[in-house]
């Protein structure tokens, strides 16, 4: 299976790492031999039709920051769309940074690959949150697979769980803690009694919150995931503008301590059902499955036959997120062979 990776940040590198780690496992178990034939980042591309060396890709990126400096096979002036045109490949892995204003360049990459008849795996929330239906239609029209497990909850399996494992159940609603940064901040505030501003600063120093934390703390990131869940799991043709969003920046230590007195915690919860699309701070019981700490994610599917199903997992991290992408790659491979 020939793979093109667009974007070589934390997630892109994670994929190179898991492919390198799991080579024998994938060969023995699925007779799958994944070859990374091209990788693009802002600097250009590394291209080799017979497969690039994963460890050398990681080392090049680590040492120089530029994938175009890959020995012998680096091409500084090649952009992503050129690469998709020139290279023979089976599956595009789109992991460029998320843009929630227009979903680019990921949207164009994904559309192009699907129109060229290639399967696509992505972790990119932008194009999914803005134009899910267009992408899903495009995949059907071109008879290709389009998978995006990693876009919601990182390593936590939720989309494939709903579609495959719970195949016989109708899912009525989904709700969960879908953003690790805000969960970390709220957990710390509850444990330390510290203020929001102080805790955010600390999270930024630790690299858990971004320098510009807007999308996380104002609930935009969680809202993108709610849109993806609503479309993919509940078949609701909605986009980001349909979600009512309230973030955590107005949460005070006073409100957290009041809630704690009654055995309650404040968490940022996203909820999707046919009559409600919402991200807002909510009260959950201490000791309930939603009382998770740190950067963990959790989600509950309300189903007709199986009642409630709840999953917990790591919502971010390079190798963790790559694990979800690899599971999509494997399932495409199984379907194709």
């Amino acid at each position: 299976m020939k793979i093109v990776i667009l974007g070589f940040g934390a997630v892109g590198q994670g994929i190179a790492r898991v492919i390198s780690m799991k080579k024998d496992y994938l060969k023995n178990r699925y007779e799958l031999n994944p070859q990374i034939v091209a990788v693009c980042d802002r600097s250009g591309a590394a291209i080799c039709e017979t497969g690039l060396d994963e460890e050398l890709l990681l080392q090049t990126k680590n040492d120089t920051g530029k994938i175009a400096l890959y020995p012998d096979y680096g091409f500084p002036d090649r952009d992503s769309l050129q690469v998709l045109d020139e290279i023979e490949y089976d599956c595009l892995v789109e992991v460029t940074p998320t843009d929630i204003d227009d979903g680019e360049p990921a949207r164009t990459h994904i559309m192009k690959a699907m129109e060229d008849g290639k399967d696509v795996v992505t972790s990119n929330k932008g194009p999914l949150a803005l134009s899910f239906q267009d992408l899903a239609d495009c995949a059907i029209k071109n008879n290709v697979e389009f998978k995006f497990e990693a876009s919601v909850g990182g390593a936590m399996p939720i989309l494939n769980l709903a579609h495959e494992t719970l195949a016989g159940c109708s899912i009525k609603s989904v709700y969960g803690i879908l953003n690790g940064t805000t969960n970390y901040i709220l957990s710390r505030m509850a444990n330390e009694g510290s203020s929001y501003e102080q805790t955010l600063k600390e999270a930024q120093e630790m690299g858990i919150a971004e320098t510009d934390p807007y999308q996380d703390v104002e609930g935009i990131d969680a809202a993108c995931k709610i849109v993806i869940l609503a479309n993919s799991v509940l078949n609701l043709p909605v986009t980001l503008k349909d979600v009512k969003v309230e973030g955590i920046s107005k949460i005070t230590s006073e409100s957290i301590s009041l809630a704690k007195k009654e055995g309650l915690l404040i968490k940022l919860i996203g909820e999707a059902s046919s009559d409600d699309l919402e991200v807002s701070p909510r009260l959950v019981r201490q000791g309930s499955p939603f009382a998770v700490e740190g950067t963990l994610n959790v989600a509950t599917l309300k189903t007709d036959l199986a009642d409630d199903i709840t999953v917990v997992g790591k919502g971010a991290g390079s190798v963790e997120t790559a694990s979800a992408i690899l599971s999509d790659i494997v399932s495409i491979w199984k379907m194709r062979s």
Binding site: I251, T252, E254, S255, K261, E262, E271
Partner: protein, 162 residues
């Protein structure tokens, strides 16, 4: 026929008698009364379990009499009649008139603010209040929606239960 009731009675002298009085007066047979004063609800009231026997007509009259005395009926034959909803409001609670907030909530159909806790902050808009609200079973969604609406009018951040 028989009714198993769970009533919510304030922990003050004479209350149990107050509850039993209409039963005797209207001719219902009291089969059992379980009254443990050391088991209390969050609000310090005592849940009293009573089983009564009689014609349907008499039992209906007893229920009406209890309701007209404002006695809180929590359960009838295991069916929960009231549920509690907890909510936290963040904002300048005093400036926005706490009493008015409570009375507006109380005016909603079947809704009663049963408990209220406050935490004031040096910065007034960081203050918070937590309310335990009682409403008829099945009203939760409607009540939560109304709390959100009221919060938006007064500029509060509303944190409802999941």
């Amino acid at each position: 026929m028989r009714f198993n009731l769970v009533l919510d009675v304030p922990d003050v002298p004479g209350q149990l008698l107050e509850v039993l009085e209409p039963m005797g007066r209207l001719g219902a047979n009291i089969v059992a009364v379980i009254h443990q004063r050391d088991v209390k609800t969050e609000r310090g009231t005592v849940p009293v379990h009573i089983t009564i026997e009689g014609d349907k007509e008499i039992l209906d009259k007893v229920m009406d009499a209890l309701e007209s005395k404002d006695i809180n009926i929590l359960e009838v034959d295991g069916v929960i009649r009231k549920e509690q909803i907890t909510t936290v409001l963040v904002g300048d609670i005093v400036e926005e008139d706490l009493q008015d907030t409570v009375s507006k909530l109380n005016k909603l159909n079947t809704v009663k603010v049963a408990d209220l806790d406050l935490k004031m902050s040096d910065e007034p808009r960081n203050s918070a209040t937590m309310m335990v609200i009682e409403a008829d079973f099945g009203q939760r969604k409607e009540v939560l929606k109304n709390i959100k609406k009221l919060g938006a009018q007064k500029g509060f951040l509303v944190i409802n239960e999941v």
